[in-house]
């Protein structure tokens, strides 16, 4: 049987990818950030997941205003890194897992989540920067990836509550897959940041830290936080954090199992315009 063994959470700032790609990771500006992922890279290499279900948002790359799916699950065999206007990132192609993805789609849709399914899609920094942070710069990504793109560009994004419930449905779907796969689920985006208007550059360290505490200790309460709190307290783009609730909802304790172990926690300001948060939770 397939099992979700752990969840990983991280911000996905484009400048982080650019710093890595341009060989700037050792510069004083970036060093403290990448140091925060040293443990994570080692941990991931030891965990050796077969598949990562990667929750992220597309930034007007694969989806323009022509189609705005709230939840889009990738069921393709492969995904190319996108040209976001600066040329494509020089990172490996992302290999999918069509079999498990289709299984999850069928299970989750029958569980009342009306997903959009995508068989052709380029993936932008929202997906590739977390891979780079966790894996470094390998010649091929060491696991298959199932992308789950969430609309957080056009308001309203799905509620935290709905995201949390979707995570639970994904967990049930993975549990019912026959092959013995080691599956992780990653939630990305956030933390506090605002990229527009005279309030650009907003960072709310206290709110971020309190939110992380609640995500770990009381995810049900965390999932009840309304949109307006994210926007007001964590910035217009801080609303990306609802995506972390999908990964949190897929952990065993939410379905009555044991509480997850916090393997790693990291927080750093700034990466470009953004506060970077990072967590690793393992099912015992």
């Amino acid at each position: 049987m397939a099992r979700i063994t752990a969840s990983v959470y991280t911000s996905h700032v484009p400048a982080i990818g650019a710093a890595l790609d341009q060989g700037k990771a050792g510069e004083p500006y970036w060093q403290p950030l990448f140091r925060g992922f040293d443990f994570s890279k080692q941990w991931l290499a030891e965990q050796r997941p077969d598949v990562v279900l990667l929750v992220y948002n597309d930034h007007a790359t694969a989806f323009s205003l022509d189609f705005i799916p709230t939840f889009a699950l990738g069921t393709a065999a492969r995904y190319a890194p996108a040209d976001e206007g600066y040329g494509a990132r020089p990172v490996p192609e992302v290999l999918g897992d069509p079999e498990l993805a289709s299984h999850i789609a069928q299970s989750v849709i029958q569980d009342d989540f009306d997903l959009t399914l995508v068989n052709r899609m380029d993936v932008d920094h929202g997906l590739t920067v977390p891979l780079s942070l966790m894996c470094g710069q390998p010649r091929a990504w060491p696991f298959r990836v199932i992308p789950l793109a969430v609309n957080v560009v056009q308001y309203p994004a799905p509620s935290g509550r709905r995201c949390f419930q979707l995570g639970q449905a994904i967990r049930r779907a993975v549990d019912s897959f026959d092959a013995g796969l080691n599956v992780q689920i990653w939630g990305t985006g956030g933390m506090s940041h605002q990229l527009q208007g005279p309030r650009a550059g907003l960072i709310n360290r206290e709110w971020d830290q309190a939110w992380l505490d609640q995500l770990i200790d009381d995810p049900v309460a965390c999932s009840q936080i309304p949109h307006i709190d994210y926007v007001r307290e964590a910035g217009s783009e801080g609303i990306e954090l609802v995506m972390w609730l999908i990964a949190r909802g897929a952990m065993a304790d939410v379905a009555g199992g044991a509480r997850p172990v916090v393997k790693h926690r990291f927080y750093h300001v700034p990466a470009s315009n953004t506060a970077v948060g990072h967590l690793i939770l393992e099912n015992p």
Partner: protein
């Protein structure tokens, strides 16, 4: 009954909701066209002519030509779409975000290195934080030559 839009009272912030999206549809789709290298070349060769191929308003075209991102957002633009213009110009996301504050690039970068903009006074219109209308522009970008 009208929908509740509680996000209208946040200073210096425009939420890209369905109303904004409708207003900015062609502006944003124009931006999207800059994802293709050929289009970036054509746009740079003659910006006005390229814009005239799109059913955008005159105000939207003028805001793009002036690279006035605050005005673009007011007219329905979304920052992730507008970022394609910045990419075409070879500007980073930090330069683009900073340009909306009135700060110079150095002033904005220093604010971020210092921990970012404080939330204090910037939660609701009517408070006295640095993002409030009465404190614009915030820096010395306008004095830059």
């Amino acid at each position: 009954m009208a929908l509740d839009k509680p996000y209208k009272d946040i200073p210096g912030t425009t939420i890209f909701d369905a109303d904004q999206s409708r207003k900015g549809y062609w502006l944003n789709q124009f931006c999207m066209s800059l994802m293709k290298a050929d289009n970036r070349v054509r746009f740079k060769a003659d910006e006005r002519a390229y814009l005239d191929d799109w059913p955008m308003t005159d105000a939207q075209k003028a805001a793009v030509l002036a690279r006035d991102l605050n005005e673009c957002i007011r007219l329905g633009g979304n920052i992730y779409f507008l970022a394609k213009i910045g990419a075409t110009d070879g500007r980073s996301f930090q330069q683009m975000a900073g340009s909306m504050t009135g700060m110079t690039e150095a002033e904005y970068r220093d604010m971020m290195l210092g921990g970012g903009r404080s939330i204090e006074g910037n939660r609701r219109i009517g408070e006295d934080g640095d993002a409030q209308a009465q404190h614009q522009p915030q820096g010395h970008a306008a004095k830059d030559v």
